[in-house]
Structure formats: structure tokens, C-alpha cells
């Protein structure tokens, strides 16, 4: 667990030929992001972000719209090349061994719906093959049961409700038993009961399997309930990091939502100033 402090940018360590940092052990962080930057011309979408997600840890990535959350997620998923910096999933460097790194990762995002012209079971089989899942038939059945999707197995995803689609997306995200799970507003379309079940499922997944989770959400109640640690992002920089249950009081806010609003409104201060 990282202490309640800011994470000043660190220079990336040199990599060996396998895309690993020297001295890496088997108990590496699920995700290690070093001095990540992404520029679009003059615009700095991500500006020197460094953080880690430990095994079994759930980290909330928070920030107002345009803060750089999705850009960070896209760079971790290797669908966006960073301008500089390094990303490692386990011991594997994403830039050097993209396929190997992504084989141990998965994600669910509201903006990445599954093909609507395939049924639920077909989608799971298709993505299971893509991720090289062993004993695929059994794994699909397990997930259909876990997310109560048996009755919808032969229904095309295009006709599912948004809540059902979210459950299918989560089932897809767990197909390969990932070491790192990226969830972008995973409960946004769920009713309160389903959202609670989903949060519990993700929490037990992280606890039991040691899967690290990077979770973005605008629901501060949910973040407080689920996340072990949060990172507040603004203008592409991490402003604050720490335990979502103790951070508000430490910064004179009544709750996480108030802290979020405070940070979103404040002009950007350099991380070092905020640390002081």
C-alpha cells in the first residue's frame, strides 16, 4: 500500500532485453506507471503521472471530465502510444511486449460495448479465444453463472438492456483471470442492487485472486466503499493520492464528493506545492 502522499514523477528505470526492470520479482505490482506523458501538439493530456497498483489492490482514478483518466487507461491498454514514460503490467513492459502484457490484463468500459450482432455466449467464446483462455467452454459457463447470464446466453448483445450489457462486459473482462483489471465506470448502468453485487464481486475477486484493479467512477460513495486508495487527477497530473476514507478529513472536506468538487474547481497547483 502506498502511503497517503503524492507521487512525484520518477525517471523510468532502464529495461533489460525482456522488457523487465532489473531486480523484478514474482510479486511485482499489478501495474506500474512511470512518468507517463501524452501530448497532443501543445496540449498535455497526461503530464508526468507515476503510480502503482499492487496485487489485490483496488485503486480509484478520479478526476473531472478531461482530466486524463481515459487517456491513461488507453495507454495502459496499448491503444494509445504515450509521448514518454513506461507502463508495466506485472513484470512486462507494455511498449516492448504488448501482446504478453495484454494477455494478463482485461477491461470493461461503458464506451467499449461488445459486438451487438453476436450473442452473449458467442461474444464470450470469441474473446476467450482472443485471450487464449484454456478450458474455454467451462470458463464461459462459470461466468454465465457468476453474472446470472444463463437465460441470456443466446440473446444478441445488441438487444440487451444497459445493465445486462454491463454484466456481459464484466464477464468478458474476467475471462482470462486477469492480473490487472481496468474498469471505467463499471456500475454506471446498473440498478443499486446489481451495482452492490458487482462491487462485492470485484472486491472478492481482488482479494481472492490478487488481481489489481484500476477503477474510474464519478460515484464517490462507490469509490469510498470499494477502493483501497484513490488518485485525484486534474489537467493530466495527480494532485492527491491516499485512502478515500481518511483523505477528506485530512484536507478539510466533509466527504469525498466535497473534496472532489474542491479539487476540480481549484486552479492547478504543482504537486510539490500541494504536498507541502
Amino acid at each position: 500500500m502506498v502511503p497517503e502522499s503524492l507521487h512525484p514523477p520518477q525517471p523510468p528505470a532502464p529495461l533489460n532485453a525482456r522488457g523487465q526492470h532489473p531486480g523484478d520479482s514474482g510479486a511485482a505490482a499489478a501495474l506500474r506507471v512511470h512518468d507517463l506523458r501524452k501530448n497532443y501538439g501543445e496540449l498535455r493530456a497526461v503530464d508526468g503521472v507515476s503510480f502503482e497498483v499492487g496485487p489485490g489492490e483496488i485503486v480509484g482514478l478520479l478526476g473531472p471530465n478531461g482530466a486524463g483518466k481515459t487517456t491513461i487507461i488507453n495507454t495502459i491498454l496499448a491503444v494509445l502510444t504515450p509521448s514518454s514514460g513506461s507502463i508495466r503490467i506485472g513484470n512486462v513492459d507494455v511498449a516492448r511486449q504488448r501482446s504478453r502484457a495484454l494477455a494478463r490484463t482485461n477491461f470493461a468500459a461503458v464506451y467499449a460495448s461488445l459486438p451487438g450482432n453476436l450473442t452473449v455466449a458467442q461474444n464470450l467464446r470469441f474473446f476467450g479465444l482472443l485471450y487464449g483462455v484454456r478450458a474455454l467452454r467451462r470458463r464461459v459457463e462459470e461466468l454465465l453463472g457468476q453474472f446470472t447470464l444463463q437465460a441470456l446466453r443466446d440473446t444478441k448483445c445488441g438487444v440487451l438492456s444497459s445493465g445486462e450489457l454491463t454484466r456481459v462486459a464484466l464477464a468478458k473482462a474476467l475471462l482470462n483471470r486477469p492480473r490487472l483489471l481496468l474498469l471505467d465506470e463499471p456500475t454506471a448502468s446498473l440498478d443499486p442492487a446489481a451495482a452492490r453485487e458487482t462491487r462485492a464481486a470485484i472486491r472478492s475477486l481482488a482479494r481472492d485472486s490478487g488481481c489489481g484493479v484500476l477503477w474510474t467512477s464519478h460515484n464517490m460513495y462507490e469509490v469510498e466503499e470499494v477502493c483501497d486508495r484513490v488518485l485525484f487527477l486534474s489537467h493530466g497530473r495527480i494532485l492527491l493520492a491516499g485512502d478515500p476514507r481518511s483523505l477528506p478529513a485530512a484536507h478539510g472536506a466533509r466527504n469525498l464528493e466535497e473534496l472532489f468538487i474542491q479539487l476540480a474547481r481549484e486552479p492547478l497547483a504543482h504537486p510539490a506545492e500541494r504536498l507541502a
Binding site: 494509445l80 495484454l102 468500459a109 467499449a112 459486438p115 450473442t119 470469441f126 487464449g132 468478458k172
Partner: protein, 267 residues
């Protein structure tokens, strides 16, 4: 190259076909119409001209082979467009799938679907219009290989165009075979083309196939060397098209286009 991701791409195409049998219609409907149309035109020309040319063999054979090349290209492009239409890029390219595996899956899918089209064309052209491939039989395999290769190269290039210029550019892709057909000398000898068009024709592998086909049908000797050159040219064009696709893909990853690929047009 790992077989499972390639199998996943093929499985997806199979699911699409099984889920909506209407998708099978374009595999044979248009080629069927072409064969019927050109079959009757050839039959009419055979009956009214005394030029000593077997129009059925020359025209219908050319239509059949050229359609096959176009079907391969369109099959590959359509398989790629399925991922565009279903906005599936993020799910696909954020998976361990590698670009060569993806393209290989698309190529195998397009070859499989165009084989169905070829079978339908033969069923119509041989018994109904009396098309005979006896004169070509020794070289037909080589001709098909060249045409398949060129169709694959065009399909990869067309997919790269759609990835680069956005979904709206699919309308630039469909007419490509029609634009190339005058240069490929599908229905006439290369000698009728002006010099500048002939120059372009030398870069297009199908032009060697159709020249070879006409030579065989008219009892002239078949030159093997140009046909082998055409095969090498088709292979080179596949490699170049693949390189182009990878370049476009890398640009899309660098600029962020891939992550937000759903806009109607892309600048």
C-alpha cells in the same frame, strides 16, 4: 503467429454468417447476376460474329476470374468493416491479438467466402453457358493463385484506407476493382491500351493472367515466365499492403484515433 487468435477471427465471421443468413447472399448473388448477364452477351456475340473468337470462353472466363479477384478483396474488406460497424476496435486491439494474426484471420475468412462464390459461378457458367476450362486446366491453379494474391493485397490496402480515413471512406473502397479493370485488360489484349496505361498494367498481376488466358484460348503458346513474375508481384504487393496497414495502425495508436474510432469521418 498463434492459431487461437486467428481462429477467433474466423469464429466471429462464422457466427455472423450463422446468425444472419442474409449475409451469405452477396457471396453469390452478384457473381450469379454477372455470369448470367455476360453468359447471354457472349452467346449472342458467338451467334452474330464470325470473328473466330470463342466469346463464351474469353468473356465469361474473364468475368469469372475477375469477379473472383474482386470477391476476395471485398470479402476481406467486409470482414474488417464488421469491426468498424460494430465499434469493436477497442475490444479487439486492447486484447493480446497481434496485427499479423488479425490480418491472417481476415484473409482466411475472405478466401473461404470467395470459394463459395467461385463454386456458384462454376455451377452457372459451365453447365448453363457451356464454359470450358479444358484449355486452361494446366495453368488454372497458377491463375487462381495470382488473382487470390492480388485480391488479398487490395483487401488489406482497402482496410488500411478505411482505418486511415474513417468509416465514411468505405465508399472509396468498393469501386477499386472497377477502377482497376481497364488497366488489367480483363476483356481485351494489352496491345489495345495506350502506352501509359500499359505501363500501369505491368504492375497489376491480373493483366498477366488475362493475357495468358487469351493466349491459351486462342491456341497460342503460354509464356510461363510472365505468369511467375505476376505471382511474385502479387506476393510483393501483399507484403507492401501489409506494411501499409501496420503503418496506418501505428499512426492510429500514436494519434489516439484507434481509441476513439467511431466518428463518421476522421481527419
Amino acid at each position: 503467429m498463434r492459431p487461437r487468435p486467428v481462429a477467433a477471427i474466423l469464429l466471429r465471421q462464422w457466427y455472423l454468417l450463422r446468425g444472419s443468413p442474409v449475409r451469405a447472399l452477396p457471396m453469390f448473388a452478384w457473381v450469379g447476376i454477372d455470369i448470367v448477364l455476360w453468359g447471354f452477351i457472349s452467346r449472342y456475340l458467338d451467334s452474330v460474329t464470325g470473328a473466330g473468337i470463342n466469346f463464351t470462353a474469353v468473356f465469361l472466363g474473364a468475368v469469372l476470374l475477375w469477379d473472383l479477384c474482386g470477391r476476395v478483396m471485398q470479402g476481406l474488406t467486409t470482414a474488417f468493416l464488421e469491426d468498424v460497424w460494430s465499434r469493436n476496435f477497442l475490444n479487439l486491439f486492447a486484447s493480446p491479438l497481434r496485427i499479423p494474426e488479425y490480418v491472417t484471420g481476415l484473409v482466411i475468412a475472405s478466401i473461404a467466402t470467395s470459394m463459395i462464390g467461385l463454386a456458384v459461378m462454376l455451377v452457372l457458367a459451365v453447365p448453363v453457358f457451356g464454359l470450358s476450362f479444358l484449355a486452361l486446366v494446366a495453368h488454372l491453379g497458377l491463375f487462381l493463385l495470382v488473382l487470390y494474391g492480388f485480391g488479398v493485397a487490395l483487401g488489406i490496402l482497402a482496410s488500411a484506407m478505411v482505418l486511415r480515413f474513417g468509416p465514411a471512406s468505405e465508399w472509396l473502397v468498393w469501386p477499386i476493382p472497377a477502377l482497376l479493370s481497364p488497366f488489367c485488360a480483363v476483356f481485351y489484349p494489352l496491345t489495345v491500351l495506350p502506352a501509359w496505361m500499359r505501363g500501369a498494367a505491368w504492375l497489376l498481376p491480373p493483366s498477366y493472367v488475362f493475357e495468358g488466358m487469351r493466349a491459351l484460348l486462342q491456341g497460342r503458346p503460354f509464356a510461363l515466365l510472365p505468369a511467375l513474375y505476376a505471382l511474385a508481384l502479387a506476393a510483393l504487393e501483399i507484403v507492401l499492403a501489409g506494411y501499409c496497414f501496420v503503418r496506418v495502425y501505428r499512426r492510429a495508436v500514436r494519434t489516439g484515433l484507434l481509441a476513439r474510432y467511431s466518428a463518421e469521418t476522421v481527419s
